[in-house]
Amino acid sequence: MAQVHDASLATPLADRHQALGARIVEFGGWLMPLQYAGIIEEHRAVRSRAGLFDLSHMGELFVEGSEAAAALGYALTTEPASLKVGRAQYSMICFPDGGILDDLIVYRLGEERFMVVANASNASAVSDALAERLAGRHVVLDDRSLATALVAIQGPLAAAILAPMTGVALADLPYYGIAEGNVAGVPALIARTGYTGEDGFEVMVDVAAAGRVWDALLEAGQPVGAVPVGLGARDTLRLEAGMPLYGNELGPDTTPFEAGQGRVVKLAKEGDFVGRAALEKASAEGPRKLLVGLVVRGRGIARHGYDVFAGDRRIGVVTSGTQSPTLGQPIAMAYVTPSEAAPGTIVAVGIRDQRVPAEVVPMPFYRRPAQTTDARA
């Protein structure tokens, strides 16, 4: 059982989670629902219907001012100036040595206004780093993490559930798009982003309105089979979708290149940015390790921290692993030496006293069926 710390923050939906019978755990400094009905059932609901997530622990940092785009371009690895208003990009904030401080989504809300969404466990570190890196620029950093609730509705029925309660035309909202509007009568930001591999939306509202939005989505979703989903299924969903998690796949000892996220490092952009020199060097020298997907071919589940072998040589370590509810097979992500990273390579995972064979496979493990999600909304 996870330790429950007195200092942990409660989300504005804590009473809902309790009433729904959730098992609560401490995560990133917050008391969060781990599961309600059960991880597998919740996972399958998101893949086949829809799931409702309380992600109020995430950090929301607003950056506004005439130099907002340029200042963020210095602070982050991507180029927010290239974003159109109403669009988002996956990004990273790195240390000067090229290690990853956090992975982020940057939303452009206006010509001079951005929202940066950070992981809960890193929100204050990201806020501090941005404050330092934006200093002296014509920008204002407003950390609204504690004032903002984030409710996500994810799954093939997400658009159909959300559409009737918002004035935003969801059919016109592309993947990685964001719009300002109302949800259940509450002013909201609606983004077509998520961490599940499904179509879906993340709705950001003032904490005081979180209950109203949650209740409306649950009431509209339940008749079509939507369920509340905890962090347990969020983890299995993102793992199947091949999405890295800070603390597992991402951290200060890893560069974005090693994590397979080199596309978010815009070395061609103009001007300096924090980590540029180190990342240019890392790009030229090549990775020391590479993140790969593994499917275990023997009996057992590869878990975080288990060693990976090629013959008798230890060549890496598992960063995340589970029994995939969708594939019915044990899947994992691992860092291995680059020479063993090609799909098809057979390695072994040390599972207790056994060396169990596993195959390097391309990620994602799961890709949702092609569909006309926009028409559905």
């Binding site: 059960g38 991880i39 597998i40 589940i301």
Partner: protein, 126 residues
């Protein structure tokens, strides 16, 4: 909900004694705490086990936990159906989710097990 005729361990396992045979499983409380069980590793039939020795593994989506032998003896049978249907530990932990049978070699070890009242006191402490 918790059967009366069984003995229990602090590790949330149950034991049914019939003659010199002990049938072993995990309690409903354990199954709920683990969540969805997705993998079970059981000892080889014929293996001699000592009381409270780790003899197998139960994995849920989130967690790995050891299966301990609640008594000393020889493993005479394991529930091979759990290999393909580990979810039986969640759906019927006291029935179809039984895990193994041990032929007792030391009946004195039974004194180290809990009765229902002691087990319920343990789980109600949280």
């Amino acid at each position: 909900m918790v059967p009366q005729d069984l003995r229990y361990t602090k590790e949330h396992e149950w034991v049914r004694i019939e003659g010199d045979l002990a049938t072993v499983g995990i309690t409903d409380f354990a199954a709920q705490q683990l969540g969805d069980v997705v993998f079970v590793d059981l000892p080889e039939v014929g293996r001699t086990v000592a009381q409270f020795e780790a003899v197998g593994v139960i994995e849920s989506v989130k967690a790995v936990s050891d299966l301990f032998a609640p008594v000393s003896g020889d493993v005479v049978e394991t529930n091979t159906e759990l290999t393909s249907k580990p979810e039986l530990l969640n759906s019927d932990p006291f029935g179809q989710g039984w895990m193994l049978r041990i032929r007792l070699t030391d009946r004195a070890a039974l004194d180290g097990l809990l009765d229902l009242a002691a087990y319920e006191a343990l789980t109600s402490e949280g």
